[in-house]
């Protein structure tokens, strides 16, 4: 298997409303930043992989329009779309493009521009994830009151609410821990110049003061809807060793799907998942990715993690599923400060998705942030220890396309 490394990263500032750039310019910024970081010229790029949530921002297949801004004309372009984990799967597709031997240098870019839509895509588009098929059920007389409790929280929150309740029941985690995670993420984001919700000195009490959305979530727990783009340049070993001082090697990757777990899937058929916090897809992706990477004991060998957590319960839940903490103990580790910058297993030092959520871009940013940490380029939120191995995670749908990527400072 050909070794593949990340040799450059680029992001744009993520914020609620980027009204200073249009979609094409925003993605162009990210890609050019990545090319500059990698010191690769646009003519040297062999292939592109791109992705975002289809239709958010009012344009379908946007890469066909904005391809000109990123130097795509005349090159192969592949569009990947897998819900929340889009960015992660876009990066994995770029990995395969180079690992296949067909291309030597590939650019992976993903983005979202919610503010271009009248109603932020995070509510309309995502509400569609659960609601789209609910509209079909209205023909069969579904109870409106029942629709209500889902809509009030927004579809993705609806799915995550149940996940959180299952996790809390299973592990003993309490709402106070969700407050702690959200506060930590916003404090961390304050040290990340590209992040959206930056709240230096945010405390769990600050979060606890916010209103309830739907138990167990408060407004302070929920991720924002951000505009932003991110990009990475991947290269084969020969190019990486020649051109990059500290290439970041992609040692293992997988994106397994569990049974789709939508509150109401097409035809409203039920699903056999009885515990929404089980997330078998995450467990299997982690097993495969660690195996490929040669990691036998993630708790000892992984130096930090970037977990996809639009909701704070997911940081704890997925960290356990990725084997970074024993079953049911992630919240205890949180209490002991193990997930802080000086802790044993720093999680989401960039603030994670909880602080910055441009859906297409967010899973790519998890891989990008791990790469920055390994390269030593994470500036204010750089972890003060040598990073040899890191794991990045992406979550899509409800239990689907859980993209797990293991990165390291050496390919073996």
């Amino acid at each position: 298997m050909r070794n593949v490394a990340i040799i450059g990263c680029g992001q744009t500032k993520h914020s609620g409303r980027r009204r200073d750039v249009n979609l094409a310019e925003m993605v162009g910024d990210a890609v050019w930043n990545a090319l500059e970081d990698a010191q690769v010229g646009p003519h040297e790029v062999d292939a592109f992989t791109v992705g975002n949530m289809q239709g958010f921002g009012g344009v379908a297949q946007p890469e066909q329009w904005l391809g000109d801004w990123i130097g795509a004309p005349g090159k192969p372009v592949l569009r990947i779309a897998t819900g929340g984990s889009t960015g992660g799967c876009v990066a994995q597709a770029a990995f395969y493009a180079v690992a296949s031997g067909l291309y030597d240098i590939a650019v992976a870019t993903a983005w979202e521009k919610h503010s271009d839509s009248k109603e932020p895509g995070a509510t309309t588009g995502l509400a569609h994830v659960g609601l789209g098929n609910t509209l079909n059920m209205i023909n069969f007389g579904v109870s409106f009151k029942h629709l209500l409790s889902m809509v009030a929280a927004g579809a993705a929150a609806g799915v995550a609410c149940y996940q959180a309740m299952y996790y809390m029941h299973r592990s003993g985690c309490r709402v106070e821990h969700l407050d702690m995670v959200a506060a930590k993420d916003r404090r961390n984001a304050a040290n990340n110049k590209y992040a959206h919700l930056q709240w230096p000195g945010c405390t769990p009490e600050d979060i606890a003061k916010t209103k309830w959305v739907a138990y167990p979530f408060r407004y302070g727990h929920i991720c924002p809807a951000s505009d932003g783009a991110s990009a990475m340049v991947l290269a084969c070993e020969e190019v990486a060793r020649k051109r990059c001082k500290k290439p970041v090697w992609i040692k293992g990757l997988a994106a397994y799907s569990d049974e789709e777990n939508q509150i109401m899937s097409e035809g409203a058929g039920g699903i056999g998942i009885l515990d929404a916090s089980q997330q078998i897809g995450a467990t299997m992706s982690a097993i495969k990715a660690y195996k490929m990477a040669g990691i036998k004991d993630p708790q000892k060998e992984i130096d930090l993690a970037e977990i996809y957590q639009p909701f704070p319960s997911q940081e704890l839940m997925f960290a356990e599923r990725l084997g970074l903490f024993d079953e049911g103990t992630a919240w205890k580790a949180l209490e002991k400060g193990e997930t802080d910058i000086n802790g044993k297993m720093p999680c989401d030092l960039s603030g994670g998705v909880n602080a910055t959520n441009a859906i297409g871009s967010s899973a790519l940013q998890r891989i990008l942030e791990c790469a920055l940490q390994i390269m030593g380029k994470a500036e204010e939120h750089q972890v003060p220890k040598e990073v040899h191995n890191a794991v990045a995670h992406g979550w899509g749908g409800a239990t689907n396309y859980i993209a797990v990527t293991v990165l390291g400072d050496s390919p073996y």
Binding site: R19, D20, V21, N22, E25, G28, D29, W32, N33, L35, E36, G58, N133, N136, M137, F140, G141, V142, S143, F144, K145, H146, L147, L148, S149, M150, V151, A152, A153, G158, C161, Y162, M165, Y166, H169, K211, W212, V213, A214, Y215, P216, E259, I263, M264, S265, E266, G267, A268, G269, G270, I271, G272, I273, L274, D275, A276
Partner: protein, 170 residues
Amino acid sequence: MPYIKEQRKETISVEGDWDVGGSTTWKHSTLLQEYAQGLKEKKIIGSLCPGCGKVIVPPRNICGRCHRKMDEKVVVSDIGTVTCFVISAPFAKGQAKVLGMDPVEIGLVEEGERVISVYVKFDGADSNVDTELIGVEPEKVYLGMRVKAVWAKEPQGRLSDLEAVEPLKD
């Protein structure tokens, strides 16, 4: 780099409203209809997979685990267990709109009411049904609670015939 935009001021916005016309035509199997008809007769129908033996409620036609059709219909109990619950924030007028309607204004919920959504595993089923829990204070809900189906007074063969569940009285 000369390609990265130098100025960071608000740029020109162009507005547009595009209704391309047409509509979406959903395709679904007859399973939902059968389920709704079953509710009219106070029967909760699920589909059974002959491969793994799982019973899924409401019925679905393909078992992902076995990759085969799961057409067999079975009836499960109308008594079950709460496996998960989510409590909405107290509803206030003007807070949220469902399909363009304000739920408090149209009398769907009362001001200050908190709706409890639960996942219920009816006995005999291997899946959860998403529905509302009534007849109990939000603080008193717990996982593992035993509940019974609440049927509509005048069933019409619609999904709302299964109105909600309520705590099972011993």
